[in-house]
């Protein structure tokens, strides 16, 4: 009995800790619940790049991280998936189109030198060796007439290249290409040695800003193509979250009512166990942390079903033992022991399926599997410790005096016993046959 009381306080403490964790840490919500964009990019091979190396992926990832950060939205994430893909998540974005435009572009800035014919006229452009890689930073500015322009600041090497280029082609035009399009073809007036340059063109402020942001974020080492994009508007997200929560709560209340109606006092104990269970599961979600998505909520609701199942199994077995005329203590204990093999095998098979899903499944499936694994494991814990312990504390060790507490009738008790060959004395000590 002493152990039981220690156990009781341990459970109370665990519940309080869980509630504190739930209060303190916000639970990260998935994009399908808050709204936002999910984009899958795949690195593409080109004529010059035949294989995608991990270095390229790292470069691609950091360039994309810079770009996503330039959007000014918090809690964005860029993750690598498999060998050649990146998953980008941008929550709360108001204009998903902007994100798409930002991500797909390689942002290659190139200075090209003219190919001159015999008369000194420009007949074409060729690479000068000066590119966006030589940049220190870019900024948006205005000229004297108030037109938008882009100021460039080269690094040391870039400044040298630029000085050489302007010296060589003084009086001739050079071309500035951005993503393969010529955006400006100024005529070099004089040699520029300071490492600063300006691009004037017919830019709107937004165009200039976008080019500057892309330049500052850095060019993508390899081109990337959008393979999948998914945007959920904030209205739908909030709607889904709200409805799932309402549905979850109503579902839980109806389960509780059913359990109390059918199992009486044990039903009340199961309810307490379920609430403790929910608190612990949510605390673990926050600690891991698990990002809660719609599929994740479904996994959680299913795990509530399994937690209830554990209690149902235990109560049914305990009732059977009581019908055979055993004392409360023995009936509860053997009810647990006999139900536990079922609970263990069925929950283990669920965990095995979830593990496979977690490692082999797509992202949506992963979220579902993770919440279900956590839910099932905690439900075993709560069934063994919380339900069993509370049952012993509430019912003690005597003979069952009021069968109604278990939803049994007076006449049910000992009736089953008469048919069994087990001696009553033996049965009392939990010896089965």
């Amino acid at each position: 009995m002493k152990n039981k009381i220690i156990m009781f306080w341990a459970i109370v403490l665990l519940t309080i800790i869980s509630i504190v964790i739930i209060k303190v840490k916000p639970i990260p919500l998935g994009l399908d619940l808050v709204g936002g964009s999910r984009i899958v990019l795949e690195a593409q091979t080109t004529e010059t790049i035949s294989t995608i190396t991990q270095d390229m992926m790292d470069g691609l990832k950091s360039a994309l991280e810079n770009r996503v950060n330039a959007l000014g939205v918090s809690e964005t994430s860029v993750q690598q998936m498999g060998e050649r893909r990146l998953l980008i998540e941008i929550p709360n974005i108001s204009d998903p189109k902007l994100a798409r435009e930002f991500l797909g572009e390689t942002a290659e800035l190139e200075f090209k030198k003219p190919i001159l014919d015999e008369n000194g006229n420009t007949k074409g452009w060729e690479a000068s060796g000066l590119s966006g890689d030589d940049l220190n930073k870019a900024a948006v500015g205005t000229d004297a007439a108030g037109r938008w322009l882009i100021t460039l600041e080269f690094n040391g090497k870039g400044a040298n290249k630029f000085a050489k280029l302007t010296r060589e082609f003084k009086g001739y035009p050079i071309a500035i290409y951005f993503n393969g399009d010529s955006i400006s073809e100024p005529v070099v007036q004089q040699e520029i040695t300071g490492g600063n340059a300006q691009i004037t063109g017919e830019f709107s402020h937004d165009e200039a800003k976008k080019i500057v942001d892309l330049l500052n974020a850095g060019a993508l080492p390899v081109p990337a193509k959008i393979m999948e994009e998914n945007t959920v508007g904030p209205t739908l997200g909030a709607d889904s979250l709200h409805k799932s929560m309402v549905a979850g709560i109503i579902g839980l209340i109806s389960v509780i009512l059913f359990m109390i109606f059918w199992y009486r006092v044990p039903g009340v104990i199961a309810t307490v166990a379920l609430l403790v269970y929910a608190a612990i599961v949510f605390a673990i979600f926050k600690l891991v942390p698990v990002t809660l998505t719609l599929a994740g909520i479904a996994g959680f609701i299913l795990s509530i079903g399994m937690a209830v199942d554990a209690n149902v199994l235990i109560f049914e077995r305990t009732k059977e033992e009581l019908k055979a005329g055993r004392t409360l203590f023995t009936a509860i204990n053997s009810g647990f022991d006999r139900a536990f093999t079922s609970i263990f095998d069925s929950n283990m098979s669920t965990v095995i399926i979830c593990l496979i899903l977690y490692f082999a499944g797509s992202n949506i499936v992963k979220g579902f599997a993770l919440t279900l694994i956590i839910g099932v494991l905690v439900s075993m814990f709560s069934a063994i410790t919380v339900t069993k312990n509370f049952m012993h504390l509430v019912f003690g060790t005597d003979q069952l005096k009021y069968p109604a507490l278990f939803g049994l009738k007076e006449s049910d008790i000992n009736e089953a016993y008469e048919a069994t060959e087990t001696k009553r004395e033996k049965a009392k000590f939990g010896v089965l046959d």
Partner: protein, 329 residues
């Protein structure tokens, strides 16, 4: 109702009608199987179910509107979309559940078209132009586009995951129980999965319900739930075999085990259905088909764990015993 050596009332005599249950089980599967075969002949991509863009690739753009949408309006919208260079638009109107009356989302117009290799901005802009012309209040709530290559890979990946899961479950059950239990459990869960797929194949044919990657999750849940149910009954058979194998026949033990676990089977399914039901009627529109698949799975899973699995294990045992008897004779 009679009492045997077991502490339970005999409500059901499953073993007595075991062949009947096997036949009923097969009959239950037939419409779905026919629908799946028909679908794989009729659909251009030869898939047994009507699959969504998650598997085929494509773009879906969804708008929330705050008024009712008539069939004629949908027809007009389709023509206007085609005139605006949107290829083969498929329009569906989804009705969200109403938890609160002041929700601005009354209907969701969902427009499906193909995935454009050049990026989706033009497609989405094109659709938006048309929709906002008809419904100035329309709000873009969701866009989803999947490249065809990615869709195919997702499908293959999901199938591999399911296959591995099945194999591991059989191994686990063989270790914990016996091979015959493992194989019957595999048959029972295959029955449940095929039944759910069959229902969705029929829904796809008649109501245009498509399956997406969430559906795979639902199938896997049904799989887990079905194993769960079957294990609980078999666990009881295993236990009773240990204690009563000298006093009762195999079939009596199977029957008693079914009856002993009957209340549990019904109560557990009922509580799961209570939560799933509230999710179905009150939850978000995006998960409704997913929840429906689980509801069907839970019902059929409970049925198969009570009637099919036990009939099959009893028949299996009879065959093994009659072979043994022949060998001895």
């Amino acid at each position: 109702m009679s009492y045997s050596v077991f502490n339970t009332k005999q409500v059901l005599d499953v073993v007595k009608y075991r062949w009947l249950w096997i036949i009923v089980t097969i009959i239950l599967l037939l419409p779905g199987i026919v629908a799946m075969i028909y679908s794989s002949i009729v659909y251009p991509n030869h898939s047994p179910l009507l699959v969504g863009i998650d598997f085929t690739g494509g773009t879906i753009v969804q708008y929330a509107v705050d008024k009712d949408v008539t069939t004629k309006e949908i027809g007009d919208l389709r023509i206007k979309l085609q005139n605006n260079n949107i290829e083969n638009p498929v329009i569906q109107v989804l009705k969200p559940t109403s938890v609160d009356e002041d929700s601005t989302i009354k209907n969701i117009i969902s427009i499906k078209t193909k995935f454009s290799e050049e990026g989706q901005n033009e497609t989405i802009d094109g659709v938006s132009q048309v929709v906002t012309a008809d419904y100035p209040e329309a709000q873009l709530v969701q866009t989803n586009s999947v490249g065809p290559l990615l869709g195919k890979q997702l499908f293959v990946k999901s199938m591999i995951a399911v296959a591995i899961a099945l194999l591991v479950i059989v191994i686990y059950l063989t270790v914990r129980f016996k091979l015959d239990f493992a194989i019957v459990a595999l048959l029972a869960l295959s029955h449940d999965v095929i039944f759910v797929m069959g229902v969705f194949s029929i829904l796809g044919l008649f109501c245009g319900v498509t399956v997406d990657s969430l559906f795979i999750t639902a199938i896997l849940t049904v799989l887990g739930y079905s194993v769960n149910n079957t294990i609980v009954v078999f666990d009881r058979v295993r236990e009773n075999l240990k204690f009563y194998s000298k006093k009762a026949t195999y079939d009596e033990i199977v029957n008693a085990s079914v009856n002993q676990t009957l209340t549990r089977s019904i109560n557990t399914s009922l509580t799961t259905l209570l939560t799933l039901g509230s999710l179905y009627f009150l939850g978000g529109v995006t998960t409704r088909d997913f929840v429906l698949a689980m509801i069907i799975g839970v019902v059929v899973g409970t049925y198969s764990s009570i009637f099919f699995a036990n009939s099959a294990i009893s028949i299996w045992n009879s065959i093994v015993e009659s072979k043994k008897a022949k060998l001895e004779a």
